[in-house]
């Protein structure tokens, strides 16, 4: 089993552009994402937040005709280098999706899915990983007596925390979250936010959200993206300390967006 000792999980993006086919969706993004902090990506719909997020674990590779230019370093290592296997990258960089997507199997098997894939076999060890991951995702108390239950029997919010636990079970350094609470009710949202606050002790979190209050509440840094016209790619307008971004943004467009004048 892998010890969670690393103090890393920091991204460095240099001039990153993403194209779907011939159309460039995101252009020239340069930013850094510090380790063990929550970085929020905000911006109006269609500005490429999900697209940029998917670059960080190379999920764009799976969509077909997508090209990523520029450099993305994870702890100094180029993740688009020929020697980097996306599978290896994704063990280090986990993802939680917008809609809860538990696999059609038991709660236990969902969480154990990643560790098993990566060779963990012993029952005691698996039990330990499952328990720890569910605890970290703040789901353990609710499901500890029903680990054999089918995952589809959980509520939406519980399913989403199960997906977080599933991602945590492979011990990622980074957790990417694409609007993880947008399909959930307020109470479940609150629970997810609490979970995130605890998780940032041990993992780097990058979260996409449409909810300004949420970004303000949970993130340390905020990046604002915008696509100003359909025939130009989206760009990064600015990134900074969340408190600064929300109280004293450096860019007029950021201010307009945050105060709800467009998007």
């Amino acid at each position: 089993m892998v010890e969670r000792t690393q103090t890393d999980g920091a991204f460095e993006l240099v001039d990153v552009s993403v194209s779907y086919g011939n159309e460039m969706a995101v252009g020239g993004v340069t930013m850094s994402i510090p380790e063990h902090a929550v970085t929020a990506l905000i911006g109006p719909s269609g500005c490429g937040k999900s697209t940029l997020l998917r670059c960080l674990n190379r999920m764009n590779d799976e969509l077909g005709d997508v090209t990523v230019d520029g450099t993305i370093l994870l702890d100094g290592q180029d993740i688009y280098a020929r020697t980097m296997d996306p599978v290896e990258l994704r063990i280090r960089v986990g993802q939680v999706f917008q809609k809860p997507n538990p696999f059609p199997m038991s709660i236990y098997d969902n969480v154990a899915y990643g560790p098993r894939t990566h060779g963990l076999r012993g029952k005691a060890e698996l039990d330990a990983v499952v328990e720890e991951s569910l605890k970290r995702a703040a789901l353990w108390n609710e499901v500890k007596d029903a680990l054999k239950k089918h995952a589809f029997e959980l509520s939406g919010g519980q399913q989403q925390r199960l997906c977080i636990a599933r991602a945590l079970a492979t011990e990622p350094e980074v957790l990417l979250m694409d609007e993880p609470a947008s399909a959930l009710d307020p109470i479940s949202t609150q629970q997810i936010e609490d979970t995130i606050a605890e998780l940032k002790e041990s993992v780097t979190i990058v979260i996409v959200t449409h909810n300004m209050q949420q970004a303000a509440r949970i993130s340390d840094r905020t990046a604002f993206m915008l696509r100003e016209s359909m025939d130009r790619p989206a760009t990064l307008i600015e990134i900074g300390e969340t408190r600064m971004m929300f109280t004293n943004p450096g860019d007029k467009r950021t201010e307009a967006y945050i105060t709800g004048r467009f998007g």
């Binding site: 599978v87 994704r90 063990i91 999706f97 059609p104 894939t117 990566h118 599933r166 991602a167 492979t170």
Partner: protein, 281 residues
Amino acid sequence: MIAASGWLAIVILAAIAIFLFFNATRSFEEVGLWKMVSGEFWYPTSDPAQYGFLPSEAGSLWVTIVGLVVCVPLGVMSAIYISEFASRRFKDIAKSLIEFMAAIPSVVFGLIGLALLVPWTQKLFNLDTGLTAFSAGVMIGILTLPTIVSIAEDAMHAVPQDLRMGSLALGNTRWQTAYKVIVPAASSGIFAAVMLGLGRAIGETMVVLMLAGNSGLIPSQPFVSARTLPGTIAGELGEVIQGGQHYSVLFAMGLVLFVVTFLVNLAADSVLERQRRRWRR
């Protein structure tokens, strides 16, 4: 009027069962259902005539087994590849080729079988005749391939993309994702594909009529000429006296065929329905 049309399917299905049954009653009375179903000899023209279905049943069984051995592995593997590994372009080409194949009438498969498969079988296995259960089975396997590929592919396609992405994001390869998540999630659809393929294989008429050889004995292995249920009906109905004993025996045979395929299709349908419910979240 519109509602009445809705019920038409039930009416026709019931009418099929009823007409088969009533036209077969004479054989039930004069020969007996059990004696037909379990009879070993098919000598409809000797005196007294013997109407045992076993030669046809065994022949159908061999043809079906050979057919499934050809089409199930090939079809399911192709479906997995097309659904999980192929590029979009390849997928389009593959699907239209499969669709094209599905549009070829079965009598044409029979013709090509006569021209190629029958002589090949004869030479390859050094047989007296290439008209065997094996040749018919292989051709039926090929004919059933499009059914299995497209239904199994549909079943895997219906698995939400979220699950695929969820598995890949955990650091699984596409293959791990396919066999650990997608195939289990689509298993009932894949099973239904096999069942529907089975139904087609049992009921297919022209290919067995043209390729199986229609001999009278109970085949103990597939490399001999054999008769089948559909082949016997199609081959003999034209020559019998309408309303006669032989005629009604053929209807009894049709009834057996109808019941068997009905059960197979019912199984496939109930499994498919479960699958449909599952993803209606």
